[in-house]
């Protein structure tokens, strides 16, 4: 039951009309609920930003820290108690901009947790400035003449860093999103899901998509499933959101590798 994990007393939530965060939260909580875990064995760690408010609506253990550092807090939690189910919720500011260093290292170490980065292409909480994922030419409060930087392809970054499960979905295709999060939970190791999500209030308003529905439609139109992307040229893929599972491989996770060292030392001592 969604109600077992959703703190309904705090609804209506803080997010704007048409913000995709609630859609991702619903998908996440439904998936956690399906696992049949004890609530006390789950910890949700959030960063700072719009998606960083998600812990306000979750009934498990939560940790709300600083901007960009959610994965570092999570690393401590998971290593201290590998039996815990750790979920790390980050925005594009948290995940790849201020916190990019923690992202690549958590992926490289293959820390066994589920990281969900909601990418709304800008800083929503502070009023719509550009982030590390803002597309080229987009208008934001701090790129008023069109953005001259190129946004990260975050999944490629995480894949290159060694993330063992890497996927991208959108809040438009919720059926796929549910499956991606389900797979991420089932995977042992660093599981990363990027979710493209609308910010009609800021990104949308600055880029002729002020209505939530318009922005949702734009995301739908920009989406290319991985299978189709394979036959498209880089020019054709410019500015598109390629969705699907980019990496799903088995590699020993950090806690398991660490425990092997501890066990070996015990053996040598005893």
């Amino acid at each position: 039951m969604l109600q077992d994990y959703l703190l309904e007393e705090n609804l209506p939530h803080f997010w704007c009309a048409g913000c995709g965060s609630g859609i991702v939260l619903q998908s996440l909580l439904r998936n956690i609920d399906k696992q049949g875990w004890k609530r006390e064995d789950t910890v949700v760690v959030t960063g700072i930003g719009c998606w960083g408010k998600a812990d306000d609506y979750i009934k498990t253990n939560t940790f709300h820290g600083t901007h960009g550092r959610a994965l570092a807090f999570s690393t401590g939690i998971k290593l201290a108690n590998p039996d815990l189910h750790v979920f790390t919720l980050m925005g594009d500011g948290d995940g790849i901009t201020i916190g990019g260093n923690h992202l690549i290292h958590a992926a490289r170490r293959n820390i066994d947790l589920v990281a969900i980065m909601v990418n709304n292409l800008n800083y929503g909480m502070t009023g719509g400035q550009y982030s590390g994922t803002t597309p080229r030419d987009a208008i934001t409060k701090t790129s008023p003449y069109g953005h001259i930087e190129t946004g990260f392809d975050v999944c490629r970054v995480v894949q290159a860093a060694g993330g063992s499960f890497v996927a991208r979905g959108t809040v438009y295709d919720v059926v796929q999103l549910n499956k991606l999060i389900e797979q991420a939970i089932a995977h042992k190791g660093f599981s990363f899901v990027e979710v493209i999500s609308p910010c009609p209030t800021h990104f949308g308003r600055s880029n002729h998509m002020a209505a939530a529905v318009e922005m949702m439609r734009w995301i739908k139109e920009q989406t290319v499933p991985l299978a189709r992307a394979a036959s498209m040229s880089p020019q054709e893929l410019e500015g598109k959101f390629v969705t699907g599972v980019f990496e799903n491989s088995q590699r020993e996770d950090y806690s398991t590798a660490y425990q092997r060292v501890v066990d070996r030392l015990k053996g040598e001592a005893g």
């Binding site: 009309a17 859609i23 438009y172 209505a211 949702m216």
Partner: protein, 66 residues
């Protein structure tokens, strides 16, 4: 709203009137009436749950009673 097997409930207190549910309902079951979604063609509902899952506000529940 009842339609044989499906029951669509809208939580107005939580709804922020974004319109996503109505715009993307594959069977056009939902329409915005004075800003809020209403199941105007409940008999057409196929229980795909997309409106519920795509609602950013936890404001829609579709019950398939079987």
């Amino acid at each position: 709203m009842e339609n044989g097997m499906k029951q669509i409930t809208i939580h107005r207190d939580w709804c922020k009137q974004c319109g996503i549910c109505a715009s993307f309902c594959p069977k056009k079951v939902l329409e915005l009436v004075k800003g809020y979604p209403e199941a105007v063609r409940p008999e057409d509902c196929i229980g795909c749950m997309l409106c519920e899952m795509r609602c950013p506000d936890f404001a829609i529940s579709v019950k398939t009673e079987d």
